[in-house]
Subunit: 359 residues, 2 copies
């Protein structure tokens, strides 16, 4: 039996408010606990998006009532909320500011770089900024970090050019950190036929950033030291949606994160220390999260089994890793002294989760 | 009569080798002299593109035989010529390195940012790098300048977000300079009908970067102090091409530059000092160009007249400013002691122009 600190997932979509047929604060945080994740940072591209006090109040009310693991909620950067100095106290109630700079699911996107500048200037110093920014957009937002001399965290990097540029920027002393998702470490872009491991239809492969080439995947693995965090970008959509017309981009991920990482440990591609560093210690530092006590995850390292969506807690009901053989199972999770998960069952009630940004 | 130093145009396309039906070193440099431009820096997106020793030799042979004004020739950054340390002496023979990072005319374009990094690392320190890079690509290449702590010159900026970001980068001490083209100062994006001043068909409006909005144009004028150089991006195509299927992007410009700028001076929007600074002194500094003697341009500031392609020397035979009322006419140009242009006539022979990078 291996005992790990509770994992922090700095990038999840819980779909509430607005799309609770995909997920909600109850199902999403149950899935997190089942995956050994005891704290999630939730993204703001819900319906409505979380961009001001009233929408933040709305989402935090749902979270308070339903969350089973600990959490914080991001605010989204929009064209109309750049004057953060006018919103006294609001930024401090959020996990950080999320800037959508490239196309993805939902309506939040900032095209005009003058708005990026305003957010970088006005979002309180010392509070995190996270950017969905791919390729040269990523380079552009790292320039903002250099100009305004404040940290930026790059969400879900997937490309060789991204990891190598972040490496160079870090060496130059620019304050940039980044995360990588398991699907960008373990999956590549689909074959021309649309077939890939565990994936039966093209719609299921839709994700942003897209799955990349083997060369990109290899570059991520070769530069693990440049990658600060593992993050799932848990982005549940139902199978009907993924298999239908205009499949929305996104994969569920919180329940497969640790089994996939532990399998890589078993294969000698990763160490337990990597997991602790990138899923606990670095997220704590980057997002200024509390170091809590009596929170741990027990893992049966020897357990070899098949990943099956049928065994999972996410409402979306599927996984891109269906049928994958993995080694390492989460058997028990203790969250602030209480047994929160054991042998496949969630043992804490909705509302047990705490908002870590609340005093 | 006003006497100005000979203007330097750091951005022209002379179409030789490969497309001399549009322009060649003779017609293009004649047009330059008629515009009061005594030195041009020629871009490498010819056919073939200028990327190595043999193509540089090819273009410089044409230039030596035909150029009537002084010049230097850029090398293009490609995927196969990143190892500049292996090309001993070659970079020093060029005006600088031109990187095409967004779509434009010709086949040179670098998509992969790892190649940008290699060029920034390997192109000899102290020699200029110029980037065709729009919007967030521009921000990305400025990040390269920050990371590798070397200057980059941004070609033809056109957007508010570009000039404001360059301003912020300069204030932060990042080594970035930029140029603006007259057409981005004096024209806006076409009306939905496709009609615009002096322009009869949509194909004629095609240019990269595209003509922008009035708000963008206003931002350029409001931030003239951020703009280091005027450059024409003289990009001749024939009228048949511009009015045909798939019109190629680009405007001629060397002959309309000074009349347009002098008209802005007459209107009080610009000063003669702006022209000297941005068309002579700053290009000399940025591109490390020789300060030559006995080179000047005589201007009749009072002359009010209509711009007409029929009066011009470019082979392309049209101008987007056809019919514009201007004030200020180039009457005489002296180039290294010789009368090179007077009263509409070119007076120096092909081959009189000198390669300013040649010892």
């Amino acid at each position: 039996m291996l005992k790990l600190p509770g994992l922090i997932d700095p990038h999840v979509h819980l779909r509430e408010p607005g799309q609770t047929h995909k997920e909600d604060w109850d199902s999403g945080t149950s899935a997190a606990l089942a995956g050994g994740v005891t704290m999630v940072l939730a993204m703001p591209n819900t319906k409505p998006p979380i961009c001001d006090e009233s929408t933040l109040d709305l989402v935090l009310a749902s979270a308070k009532a339903k969350a089973r693991c600990d959490y914080a909620q991001f605010l989204g950067a929009g064209p109309d909320n750049v004057d953060w100095d006018k919103y006294a106290g609001l930024p401090h109630r959020a996990a950080g500011l999320k800037m959508y700079l490239d196309s993805t699911f939902g309506e939040l996107r900032l095209d005009d770089m003058t708005l990026w500048q305003s957010h970088f200037q006005n979002w309180p110093k010392g509070l995190p900024i996270v950017a969905h920014s791919e390729s040269r957009s990523m380079a552009a937002v790292i320039l903002m970090a250099a100009i305004y001399d404040r940290p930026v965290h790059i969400a879900h990097i997937s490309l060789k050019e991204e990891v190598l540029l972040i490496k160079a920027a870090k060496e130059r002393g620019i304050k940039v950190t980044c995360e990588v998702c398991p699907h960008h470490l373990f999956l590549t872009s689909p074959l021309p036929s649309g077939e890939g491991p565990g994936v039966r239809a093209n719609g299921r492969l839709e994700v942003r950033p897209r799955l990349a080439t083997q060369a990109d995947v290899d570059a991520l693995w070769a530069n693990l030291d440049v990658i600060d965090c593992f993050a799932t970008d848990h982005a549940p959509h139902t199978l009907a949606e993924k298999d239908g017309e205009n499949p929305p981009p996104g994969f569920p991920g919180v329940e497969t994160l640790l089994p996939l990482l532990l399998t890589a440990v078993a294969e000698g591609r990763l160490t337990i220390n990597h997991i602790i560093q990138k899923s606990v210690i670095n997220p704590q530092k980057i997002f200024n999260l509390p170091v809590q006590s009596e929170i741990w995850v027990e893992v049966d390292e020897k357990a070899a089994y098949e990943l099956r969506a049928a065994d999972m807690h996410s409402r979306c009901g599927w996984t891109p890793f269906e049928g994958w053989q993995v080694k390492g199972r989460v058997t028990r999770v203790v969250l602030r002294g209480r047994e929160a998960f054991k042998d496949g069952k969630i043992l804490v009630e909705p509302g047990y989760g705490k908002n870590v940004r609340e005093k």
